[in-house]
Point group: C2
Chain length 504, copies 2
């Protein structure tokens, strides 16, 4: 990222504004002033101001049955410092299509009950600390390399928990929302916090540690995915579970979306990674069936739609270019790692790991299919990619499968142009992305590829007509958004290929 280049500068991709990271890291006055404005309110500190934490902070600042003073805390790094400043300066650091985001933020500004800081002093004031930091898996990014070669580094997570333990009150409730390897709250978070409290000469009897995973979906229902959705929770003991329940009831619409309390935190932690493994697995399962469909002149989309008419089969997935996002690409690995490393099992979760590896190879397959179907070498070909986000109708490029596909085209020496209605700047690649499709299409292309299933590319008659009028090209749908009529229309002039369809 550009912000990495100058280490003491943090630049907001939202406003373009640059912030110098202070050398003296003391925000005691800022925190005290904020709390003075909010005296009498319970204090909730949200650790981590990413996609989940920053918005969780908003939701807590607009809790349903309680008025909280909310402090968001993150590290004073080039990646995060601007978020802290931005929240305090009146610009919310997440761009989202959900109008509730801005509405909740404006409400918090009026109430003056949402503050952001980098100073661990905040933990000492907290009644509740919500842990929303990332816990990543390092993979060998090249799908050709040994797919079992991945690494879970708990160090940054442990340090964050230590920062809490070294500062928190002895009766604090620490609620972990991070997706963690099952066993983490019980075997890692609680022991670290207890050790810190003991070192500080404090009691560990009143400490409460619980886990409740979020199901945040960035997009048009961002806020609702936190506030109006089912929650599963547990505590490391009954007292902790009770405290978590009490807190969640003030924040979430539990009358419409009842809470589910599980027996222990291993169970809630497992539920989250199991959920995501289920999805990842079901996509992987469809990958080999798509290959079979291509071989057997079958339209896999037609088949899946027919199968989905059965209520018991509604959740059958579809393949596509690949699987992206922060969860499905790593959660099965977190689980498998935990099984072996936290519970000492001799066996990994082999099928779930395999699912991730199959999905990781999908962009490579999509590229090789293009190579095999395109008449001639790809070198120097002008290629337009429609979509950079990993998810339909959302501007989210985290672990997008478009990256693997793009990289292969780049290796081949293609001349690549990018379009995405929801992505202006592709952070991971440091590339600007166009939003003006009409203008783009005025240039000629050898190959046009649908790489994300955005609405803009579905049933868009004027888009299809415009493409029909271009000189003959290779049109490649890696998602399966084209209808039969569109395929017929395009085929009159162009070569059309769709992943998972053998009968074009």
């Amino acid at each position: 990222m550009t912000t990495d280049i100058i280490k003491n500068i943090s630049k907001s991709p939202v406003t373009g504004k640059e912030y110098e990271i202070p050398l003296s890291l003391n925000d005691k006055k800022g925190i005290d002033d904020f709390l003075a404005l909010n005296s009498g309110k319970k204090v909730v500190v949200v650790q981590g101001l990413g996609f989940v934490g920053s918005v969780m902070g908003l939701v807590v600042a607009n809790a349903l049955t309680e008025e909280y003073a909310v402090i968001g805390i993150d590290l004073p790094t080039p990646q995060s410092y601007w978020k802290i400043r931005s929240i305090n300066e009146g610009v919310f650091p997440v761009i989202a299509s959900d109008p509730k985001i801005e509405q909740y933020y404006q409400s918090a500004l009026r109430k003056k009950n949402y503050y952001a800081t980098y100073d661990n002093y905040a933990y000492s004031k907290a009644d509740v600390i919500v842990v929303d930091i990332n816990l990543d898996v390092q993979k060998k990014s090249d799908a050709n390399k040994d797919p079992e070669d991945y690494h879970v580094d708990l160090m940054p997570f442990k340090k964050a928990i230590e920062a809490i333990g070294n500062n928190c009150k002895e009766d604090v409730l620490v609620l972990v929302e991070t997706t963690v390897p099952p066993g983490t709250s019980q075997k890692i978070v609680r022991p670290i916090l207890e050790e810190c409290l003991q070192k500080r000469g404090l009691s560990t009897d009143k400490l409460k540690v619980g886990h409740s995973y979020e199901r945040v979906m960035p997009g048009p229902k961002y806020i609702d995915s936190i506030q109006n959705f089912y929650r599963v929770f547990a505590g490391t003991d009954d007292k902790s579970a009770d405290a978590v329940e009490k807190f969640l009831r003030t924040v979430i619409k539990t009358d419409e979306y009842p809470l589910t309390r599980l027996g222990n935190t291993n169970a809630t932690e497992m539920a989250k990674v199991l959920e995501n493994s289920f999805r990842a697995m079901n996509i992987a399962f469809m990958v080999e069936w798509s290959r079979f469909a291509e071989e057997a002149a079958v339209d896999i989309y037609e088949v899946v739609n027919a199968i989905r008419m059965r209520p018991t089969h509604k959740n059958i997935m579809l393949p596509g270019l690949g699987v992206g996002g922060y969860c499905l690409t790593k959660d099965p690995l977190l689980a498998s790692w935990a099984r072996m490393n936290l519970f000492g099992s001799g066996e990994k979760l082999g099928q779930s790991e395999k699912g991730v590896h199959i999905n990781d190879k999908m962009p490579l397959y999509a590229f090789e299919y293009l190579q095999s179907q395109y008449n001639g070498p790809l070198e120097g070909k002008k290629i337009l990619l429609l979509g950079v986000s990993y998810l339909n109708d959302v501007g989210d490029t985290r672990y997008t499968p478009v990256e693997g596909f793009y990289d292969q085209l780049e290796i081949e020496g293609c001349d690549i142009t990018l379009h995405d209605p929801h992505v202006k700047y592709w952070e991971e690649k440091d590339i600007w992305v166009s939003q003006n499709l009409d203008e783009l299409l005025d240039n000629g292309y050898d190959i046009v590829v649908i790489t994300t299933g955005h609405k803009d590319y579905r049933n868009n008659e004027s888009l299809i007509n415009k493409i029909v009028n271009l000189p003959a090209l290779f049109f490649y749908d890696t998602i399966g958004v084209l209808t039969n009529e569109e395929i017929q229309k395009l085929s009159k002039k162009h070569t059309v290929k769709v992943i998972g369809r053998g009968d074009l």
Copy 2:
């Protein structure tokens, strides 16, 4: 089976009546007399009088918008001959909890429009022939042996199609309902029929061949699973597809359950095996998570119930003793076989095959878990198995996983007693099964195992109380039907173990 012992006798398990199989296999007069009674009606011949064909015959005999003369045809073998006689003598050969079965059968008896025969002469009179015979996969039944060692023998299926081709009219519609390897209608059925017609000097132009798979569920909604359910169909050409559609519209409530027409028969054939592979795979997927749950002191049922609150995750499955029935145990293998053998792919459907193999090993795991948890050797122990059927609340023992579990106990030298409210006679093992649980429980047991999730074993307070009052025993739930309260109650006196729960 007992009926196998004397080769020319076929015994009805429904009535106990024995029939001598005639040496002279000519039923021309019977067929002609039946058709004389039904003159003017279109003739539908249903090939195969098993779980699907016999009931499909009933449904066609009670079609919604057309009055058909229906002839069911099967082989004059000890296994099948009694079905033919039974249908003609007023006793329907399938025992089912669906009252509509008897109602439809009585209606057909009144209308005199359902006849059964073994004589291929019937095919010569047919306007429509519905193929409902089995197409089996031979597996090495021992799960310890090489799981990839399975065999698809198309010979019996091909012979059945030849019997049609050697007798049928040139403009007949042959509708394949059998679950077949994708490609079968196009690459096997149609070529065989055309060859037969050509040999008989007839035209192949008017022949219609289509595929539409049934989704029959034996049980309380047996008839509805044919007549009131979604259907997917296709033809080997447009004319065939039109003919299939026209026929299905007369039989199925298509206004409520619209038909889905796919592009070719490869697609419908693939849809069926894909549906079942999806289910089989999702069960297999949960197997390793259950093991993880046992290791991590997690209750997998609690976790899955929490996950199922999400509409996108409603179909997540649960593990148990294993997977049984005619479809999930073989359909993924049929598909994988087809991919390699009918479409020449170098790759099998590896994940789907693996799913079957994992599921096949579940009964063995359930046994090994018992062995590891039970204090002492199993030899000579008195064991009561609750449930023989593979499916809840249905008496269906085809490929029931209870068999693998039972076999292991037998090898150990256990003294096994069987109970199942829906199974009187376990055909595959030639064993009688008790229905009187109260009486059975008066005997003492060392071990009681829930092996099928019948309603009778769920939330049955008197059953639990009765078991609590027995001398201390080992209570083993392989399905996960016990509630927490029941576990607590039982645990006061007995040792309780549940597959997929580590925290008892």
